[in-house]
């Protein structure tokens, strides 16, 4: 059978890719997606562990993570729409009103 470590390494790779995307994408929506990617990576680890330890908590937690992700997506995309409406651009580097 498949050792847990495979799953964990896979999830860490996905997480790292998510981090890279998080840093390097300029599009707000894509950055959101990279966050979702990281969440997914974590979920994978959760499920793998829950299976390895024969406990269900991991899967329960995955469910919660998914719920939170849904809520986050709803609000976040609302914000994205606002940004696009007000700044006529989805490039985060053009949304810099916080600049000193």
């Amino acid at each position: 059978m498949i050792p847990t470590s495979y799953y964990i390494i896979l999830s860490s790779i996905l997480f790292g890719l998510g981090v890279i995307a998080f840093i390097f994408k300029r599009n707000v929506i894509t950055i959101f997606m990279s966050i979702e990617l990281m969440l997914n990576a974590v979920n994978l680890a959760f499920v793998a562990f829950s299976r390895a330890l024969g406990q269900l908590d991991g899967q329960i937690f995955v469910l919660f993570v998914i719920v939170v992700a849904a809520a986050e997506a709803a609000v976040g995309l609302g914000i994205v729409i606002l940004i696009a409406r007000n700044r006529q651009s989805l490039n985060v580097e053009r949304v810099d009103l916080l600049k000193l």
Binding site: T4, S5, T30, I66
Partner: protein, 167 residues
């Protein structure tokens, strides 16, 4: 090479490829599609681990709702190819090494870890959906209710944000 391992590697390759593609693609829609690929392959991995319910939820919610929302928004805003600006020097300089370091860290942590759990093959009892629901509605009932509140608040927030202000 046993069949499950084969399936695992196929799905893993799909997932990693999708993630890479998410980064490499310039157009948000393509990124979204590759992310969907990642999610579906993850669902396959869950099935492989016997977590059928989670797999289904993964596809229904992530694939069927969240990503649809993304695609919907992309279509709505008619988002074009992402322009390649480089205003943030910090990201330009420290970006790649930082990400690599973080990933390396995680990997190192895993290798560091004692392998009692890690080496264990995935031969735990397959979680019956019934047990899952029992757990969810017995032990985790309060978090569950709280998440419902969270969703409600998220809905309201999305409404308030997205509606055009009638001034």
């Amino acid at each position: 090479m046993s069949a499950p391992l084969l399936v695992f590697f196929v799905l893993a390759a799909l997932a990693v490829g999708g993630a890479l593609n998410l980064i490499l693609q310039k157009h948000p829609i393509h990124s979204a599609l590759s992310l969907i690929v990642v999610m579906v392959s993850l669902a396959g991995l869950y099935l492989l681990m016997g977590a059928e319910f989670v797999a289904a939820v993964q596809i229904i919610v992530y694939g069927g709702a969240i990503m649809v929302l993304f695609v919907f928004v992309i279509m709505l805003l008619n988002a074009g190819v992402e322009e390649h600006t480089n205003f943030s020097k910090l990201a330009g300089i420290a970006g790649i090494p930082l990400a690599l370091v973080v990933t390396g860290f995680i990997a190192a942590a895993i290798t560091h870890a004692n392998d009692t759990v890690l080496a264990a093959p995935q031969t735990g009892a397959v979680a019956a959906t019934k047990d899952l629901s029992t757990m969810l509605f017995r032990e985790f009932v309060y978090p569950f209710e709280l998440t419902s509140f969270l969703i409600l608040i998220a809905i309201l927030g999305a409404l308030v944000l997205a509606q055009r202000e009638h001034s």
